[in-house]
Amino acid sequence: MTNAFLEISNGEKLSREQIPHLSFNDFQENALDIIKNGGKVVQYFGYQDDLSMKFLAVLRTDKLFVAGCDAPDSYPSFSKICEPFHMFEREIAEQFGIRPEGHPWLKMVRYHPSYREDMPDVFGNDYNKDIPGNYDYYQVDGDEIHEVAVGPVHAGVIEPGHFRFNCIGERVLHLEIQLGYQHRGVENLFLNAEAKRLPILAENIAGDTTIGHSLCMAQAVESLTSTTPDKGAQIIRTIALELERLANHIGDLGALSGDVAFLPPANYFGRIRGDFLNLSLLLCGNRFGKGLVRPGGVRFSLADDIRKTLDERIKELKPQVEHVLDLLFSASTVRARFEDCGIVSNYDAQQLGLVGPAGRASGIPYDVRRSFPTEHYGQIDIPENKKPSGDVYARARVRYDEVLQSLNIIQSLIDTPVETHCVDDINYDLAFFSFVVTVNEAWRGEVSHAILTDKDGKILRYKVKDPSFHNWNGLAMSLRDTGISDFPLNNKSFNLSYCGFDL
């Protein structure tokens, strides 16, 4: 059937006049129609334009669609009918005080005052109290029910967040996750930032996804300035994104091994992860890839000496990685702990809109590199990495496959010389009254940035979405009816970003 949403491509510059501006009812009807037929939400956010409040949604099937509407002061919640809107509606309520009536679970996302001072706070919070957990958590009633509260300060060297378990004995009936402790106001910092600060902000949304977020920012700016990075820059960016994937996946597999008390792979992968971080440093001087990606290209070339060292190091590391993968996955004790632990069914994963390895582990094949390829991915054959079982084993196994694929991708790209003209000047004027949305497959899944500019070319709205925004509810779901002692294992199998979510 025809839909009032406009089909667009990844990173396509649109004049804002081209975006269908629907009546709220049409917007609702068409958006729900796409999602009910298996579509997913890429972006759904509010913005203020000349003091009037508007909504904009980017949805995906095997294509991308966009439309907007005037925002009412309150509206019947879409989440009641289509679960994938759940987090987005809460975010809009928090940022702009617009209430989705009948929302199944309307609570704050990050705990900050509304951007609109004229609207009363939807949650009735007093933001002079500096604690997001200052809130009545969901409770299960019963004589034998007990609660376990963890965080925001955790036992390890990790980011802050609060986890509230409702248990009967060892069995978790429900896990509620409250984040927001890392909230730095990133989206609003983009609004008034000078051009030179944009890359720095993008790199620091989530340090472990530096390249993923940097690519989204750079592609968006390139689109709005009608520039295209040269082929060499696209190859270098692809290598950098795969190095990021390798370091994180390998680190996760090591951590999973540690959580089932099989220490050799934990230690080996811990060290090997560092070797891959050092390859990012080889390329750009920073272990997390900070400083590499800039609008227009990259700041560092893949000179032949660097390419040679990279090739030698990968050749040396590849057999080690393969052997440790074999050690981990052939251990029956590891299999026994990974299998059937923390299952998220395909149905639940679809409802929650899980993305990335977490989605693929529950049988959702979506991978931006296949569906909406950017950079050099159009030339690379990425297999469909979905797994059927939805358990810790599946989430680990997706990483296993992707580690080997990433190694091959990098090896094939550094086979021949790569030439690029390095970018250092980062002054630019953005197209006025325009819109762009970019998506990339970072190691956790779909990262997306969207920019709206005003009639002077100033950024009116900068919207960031980390894959963790979709996936935290997947972790909560995996814990249902699971032993509480399996929380660390499940948590590692998702390894989600707090700062990427909190912004």
Binding site: I158, P160, R184, G185, L189, N267, R271, R299
Partner: protein, 247 residues
């Protein structure tokens, strides 16, 4: 079993010999800056203008490593005419003002508090609090536990409870939402205690400077004993700071 042994044999011994030998870092790494003071003020001004972190003091011809994210913009735009970054990762200081540097840093060992060395030189237990930030600093503190760095061989560990800790390592720009938890953790650590600020966010607000949601400088709310600059600091920078300040 055979597989386990085979892997163990292949992995071999991986721990670096720091501080006896400095491990080599790849050439593009940007560590301690060298500043050429005889450069024209035009170039200094142009570098300051291009710096995304506004970390360059034009009048004094200095760079504030507490603001700097070591992106290397100032080095690249004039091919190092004013600032070049070396591979020297030993860049931590005991005073915030020392981070505003012309390339000379006071020797950290001489500035460390001698009673800290006496108290914690043989055993230092640290509680880490992540308070905002991007998780890169946390990641590069975490790797200190991996075999290459093996922090525990120096008697230094990260512990799970502030009650077990001699001090606190803080990362991130202390978001509003983490401030109360950070201060409570600090309070829970027994005196005498140390506070270590890791990363440009923690030291000055870093990339998030200007946001109403953060604190611009941990030292504005707590006394800080050791400043480890970087975005994030290299693990060897962290290791150098901990060993030099406490051992």
């Amino acid at each position: 079993m055979l597989n386990t042994l085979k892997n163990r044999f292949e992995q071999g011994h991986r721990t670096c010999n720091y501080p006896n030998e400095k491990p080599a870092v790849f050439a593009r790494y940007r560590g301690k800056p060298i500043i050429k003071k005889d450069v024209s003020s035009d170039i200094v001004e142009a570098c300051a203008k291009a710096c995304p972190q506004d970390a360059i003091d034009i009048g004094q011809k200095k760079i504030d490593m507490g603001r700097c994210v070591f992106c290397g913009t100032c080095e690249r735009i004039f091919k190092g005419a004013f600032i070049t970054f070396t591979d020297d990762f030993e860049i931590s200081t005991s005073k915030k003002e020392h981070l505003l540097t012309d390339g000379d840093l006071p020797a950290l060992a001489e500035h460390s508090k001698q009673h800290f060395k006496k108290l914690f030189g043989r055993s230092l237990q640290l509680r880490q609090v992540s308070a905002g930030g991007c998780n890169a600093c946390e990641a590069d503190l975490n790797v200190l536990a991996t075999p290459f760095f093996d922090l525990a061989r120096f008697g230094i560990n990260f512990v799970a409870s502030p009650r077990h800790a001699d001090g606190m390592v803080v990362t991130g720009p202390v978001s509003r939402n983490m401030k109360a938890a950070l201060l409570t953790t600090h309070e829970a650590i027994a005196e005498p205690k140390v506070v270590i600020a890791v990363g440009s966010c923690t030291i000055t607000g870093g990339p998030f400077s200007g946001s109403p949601e953060i604190t611009e400088g941990l030292d504005t709310i707590l006394p800080v004993d050791l400043f480890i600059p970087g975005c994030p600091p290299h693990p060897l920078t962290n290791l150098h700071a901990l060993l030099t300040f406490f051992k």
